[in-house]
């Protein structure tokens, strides 16, 4: 993905178009699924799964993480760890509030 010859770059652009088609299709799927009015948990699982797939495509191909240097991966791993901590905070907060009966 990170070649420098004219042919490499032209090959990359074809991949970008394919990724765009996949992203557009996944957007249509996520909207269509929302009209099925699934129960809360399956709806959440499907929507997040599609969003994660789309996000991965953008990060891997448009942000070319698929062929990035080791230092960038190190920065991102650290970011993911802190992001996971941030996301876990509301869960622990929710458990705490349930125990004390407080709600927002």
């Amino acid at each position: 993905m990170s070649g420098h010859s004219v042919e490499d770059i032209k090959r990359e652009t074809r991949v970008y178009v394919l990724v765009f088609v996949a992203l557009a299709a996944l957007t249509l799927v996520t909207v269509a699924v929302s009209y099925l009015h699934l129960a809360a948990m399956p709806a959440l699982a499907v929507a997040l799964l599609i969003a994660i797939t789309k996000g991965t495509l953008v990060a891997c191909y448009f942000m070319h993480l698929i062929s990035e240097k080791r230092l960038i991966y190190a920065v991102l791993i650290l970011t993911v760890v802190f992001f996971a901590v941030l996301m876990s905070l509301p869960v622990s907060g929710h458990l705490g509030s349930t125990a004390t009966g407080h709600t927002i």
């Binding site: 420098h4 004219v6 770059i9 032209k10 990359e12 652009t13 970008y16 178009v17 990724v19 765009f20 992203l23 557009a24 957007t27 249509l28 996520t30 909207v31 929302s34 709806a43 959440l44 929507a47 997040l48 599609i50 969003a51 789309k54 996000g55 953008v58 990060a59 191909y61 448009f62 942000m63 240097k69 080791r70 230092l71 960038i72 920065v75 991102l76 650290l78 970011t79 802190f82 992001f83 941030l86 996301m87 905070l89 509301p90 869960v91 907060g93 929710h94 509030s97 407080h102 709600t103 927002i104």
Partner: protein, 197 residues
């Protein structure tokens, strides 16, 4: 004084300085939006009742259109970078100009959505849902504006660098693209979370 490692990779990091700088910046952006997503989860899981976006007047077709617009702008952005690397200024301007216009279209659609909500009295003070909705989409909208300023600069006056140092110019387009794709990525998660769930 010459700024070092604008084109060639730094021997210790393996990337040119601007790329490392932008990735570090994006890491801080993940924390910024992450804190707000975290707040969203906290508010939602502790609320006695959490409305579906449609109940609060959100327009799914408009938001889906905006998703398509932003995804389209991401592909034109990466095409602009490819054109810059191929030293094709005409195509660069075409793709970068399209990216800019997509950003404008996104904000235009967002303006229609916001106007409609305000018209119906759906202000941030009305409910917790609308408060977090306007905070998240407003902050995201500011990021779109920021990206458009950079993209507009690269399309217009910034193109002088293309004639002087095309490799450095292509790198500038690449890092501007990294930011723009991140803005797209945030919207990819905002759309289902706020509108569909």
């Amino acid at each position: 004084m010459q700024i070092p490692y604008t084109v060639e990779n730094h021997p210790e990091t393996g990337v040119y300085n601007a790329k490392l700088g932008v990735w570090l910046f994006l890491a801080s952006e993940v924390m910024l939006f992450g804190a707000l997503f975290s707040s969203y989860i906290l508010l939602r899981t502790n609320a006695a009742h959490w409305p579906h976006g449609v109940e609060e007047g959100l327009n799914i077709p408009l938001a889906a259109t905006n998703t398509m617009v932003l995804i389209g702008s991401s592909v034109t952005m990466v095409m602009a970078w490819a054109a810059a690397r191929l030293h094709d200024l005409k195509k660069f301007r075409l793709y970068m100009g399209t990216t800019f216009l997509c950003g404008l279209a996104f904000l235009g659609i967002k303006y229609i959505e916001y106007s409609d909500k305000f018209h119906h009295g759906h202000f941030p003070s009305k409910s917790t849902f609308l408060a977090i909705y306007f905070t998240l989409t407003g902050l995201h909208g500011l990021h779109v504006i920021g990206g458009m300023i950079v993209n507009g600069y690269l399309w217009g006056p910034g193109v002088k660098l293309f004639h002087r140092d095309p490799a450095r110019f292509a790198n500038r387009v690449e890092v501007a693209g990294l930011y723009w794709h991140f803005v797209d990525l945030v919207w990819i998660f905002l759309f289902p979370v706020l509108y569909l769930l």
